[in-house]
């Protein structure tokens, strides 16, 4: 059991045998991952790869089981959106041992265990910095802001870190609160309601995803403070875009989940056809403010 896992890339196989790819998502409840999934499905179609898509719903234990399932089923490749960048390592190592190539999407593995063929993601830290820039612009460089976070999720931690780092450069802006809304809309309403009480002079909110942003907006609208508080969200779902169009939300950081999904499958395809994909495949993040580009 101590044998060093090989690179995990099997010999090129040009036969028309149908390939199966196992996918373990972080969650399927969020639209980001629903989009990411559609991207994968679209990319798999031309090659008629079979995708086995399951979701760990934030539980690293369940994700480990799902990867075990894939290994038992002898899939040809595994794509993981890790629940955690550290504890996913052992599962990757197990797949390595079974000589199944592993790819990560959205969240990277930083564990010393296991080798990943490539990692496809938009840079969450950069996304956080973009969010900070947006908010700073919206506030004209000064004001009090709150972060609605979800610290249990690794990608969110990265976003928040990026956000804070960038905001440190804007000395006029002060972060007065950081509370968790667990990425959920109903929870976000409540937390925002409470924040409005403790900080009547709040002028900006960074919400780590659009569910959080829309929940915060519901509370802000109810308090009649839409004019006074700028919200920056993340992901730009259609619903958020509609709110950005009415200026209720100032802007969003845009990832391209579809693209991430497509590229992940593409990387697997590369391996199947004997190519070696780049170890890191970045996907640009952008911003969306509804203004004409």
């Amino acid at each position: 059991r101590k044998e060093v896992p090989s690179q995990g890339v099997p010999a090129p196989d040009a036969s028309v045998m149908q390939k199966t790819i196992g996918v373990s998502l972080l969650t399927m409840q969020h639209q980001f991952y629903q989009e990411l999934r559609s991207g994968m499905e679209e990319a798999a179609k031309p090659y008629s790869y079979r995708l086995l898509i399951v979701s760990a719903e934030f539980d690293p234990a369940r994700q480990a089981n799902q990867v075990d399932d894939f290994i038992t089923q002898k899939v040809d490749a595994i794509i993981v959106c890790p629940c955690d960048s550290r504890s996913v390592g052992a599962s990757i190592a197990a797949a390595n041992q079974a000589k199944i190539p592993v790819f990560t999407a959205d969240i990277a593995s930083v564990s010393p265990l296991g080798k990943v063929v490539s990692h496809v993601a938009s840079d969450n830290a950069q996304g956080g910095r973009e969010a900070a820039k947006l908010l700073a612009k919206a506030l004209g460089g000064k004001g009090k802001v709150a972060i609605l976070s979800h610290p249990e999720v690794a990608s969110v931690s990265d976003r928040v870190t990026g956000f804070k780092n960038e905001l440190a450069a804007h000395t006029g802006i002060e972060i007065v609160a950081e509370l968790s809304a667990e990425g959920k809309r109903d929870k976000a309403v409540r937390v925002m309601e409470d924040l409005l009480q403790s900080h009547p002079d709040l002028s900006g909110v960074f919400a780590i995803n659009d569910d959080t942003a829309l929940g915060a907006l519901a509370a802000i609208e109810a308090a009649g403070k839409v004019e006074k508080i700028r919200i920056v969200g993340y992901d730009a779902t259609p619903e958020a875009r509609a709110k950005i169009a009415t200026k209720a939300i100032y802007g969003d950081v845009v990832q391209n989940p579809r693209k991430i999904g497509e590229l992940a499958v593409q990387a697997a395809h590369d391996v199947f056809s004997g190519k070696i994909p780049a170890p890191v495949i970045p996907v640009e993040v952008g911003t969306f403010t509804g203004d004409a580009p």
């Binding site: 409840q29 610290p151 309601e193 409005l196 403790s198 109810a222």
Partner: protein, 331 residues
Amino acid sequence: MTTASRNTLLHWLVFARMPVILLVLVLVSAVLTQGGFLQTDNLVNVLRQVSFEGLIAFGMTMVIVTGGIDLSVGSLVAVTGVAAALAMQAMPNASPTIRIATGFLCAVALGAGTGAASGAMIARFTVPPFIVTLAAMLIARGAAFILCGGKPVYQLPEELMWWGRGFVFESLLGRLLPTPVLVMLCGYVVFLVLFTRTVFGRSVIAVGSNAQAAYLAGIAIRRVTLAVYLLTGALCGLAGALHDAKLMAGDPKVGEMWELNVIAAVVVGGTSLFGGRGTITGTLVGALIIGVLNNSLNLLHVEHFWQKVVLGIVILSASLLDAGLRRLGAR
């Protein structure tokens, strides 16, 4: 102090121990937040936050008094909310009033229907309530996502917003009485009367206290059991529609962990999980205690991970205090 007056005070303390605990919490919160907690705005806010789970907790009280449990409430809020939103979306040309009414009706009917189905399974086939409602929880949550394809349903009639965020008699009272709070208070009164003053309420207690005795006395225990789940389901539907109004969207993700919060409110309010014993007022107080706690933790910006710890410790202390006072009374 004379013994008699001390005894009276003690009795009063024991009798009113839950409100007293609530009061202590309120005072501590007020001091820690330097009065911020006590501002009218914030008190209104707490009430509004409590109103959804509080409403459901009244039904849950009855379920628990019969000796049952309902784990499906959170999922029911989600699926009824989605259904209501879809219904409202499905008729974009009807008058807003009709759309809203249809939405509420759909939600309540779906909630009541699901509750009745669970209740029937529990009452008729004696499957444990835990299992039936766990299954209902899974099915309803799945259905919520399937119904809307995983995407929240938005673009609802503007007039709906009043139900979730508006205030009753705003011109008269100002922003004092949020609509959901009024709904919850109405629910409180209705369930208080239902539970304490009607044959149905008394039958609920009898069933939970001694089902055999109730049966032998000719009480239709199956019908009573079915009814409590039906009522709870209907309340979930109402809460689901109201929650749509609050978010202005039907979101299949809402309501996660609500079952635990609701049950906690009921149990903190003094209802026994073994059935037979419980009060609607206790549940209201229990819901308020949990609401006040959550609110002041946020007001104080307690760190997320610490919030859990503090919440746990406070719940525990409140229960220990409760147990202590009860014991004092039993002396």
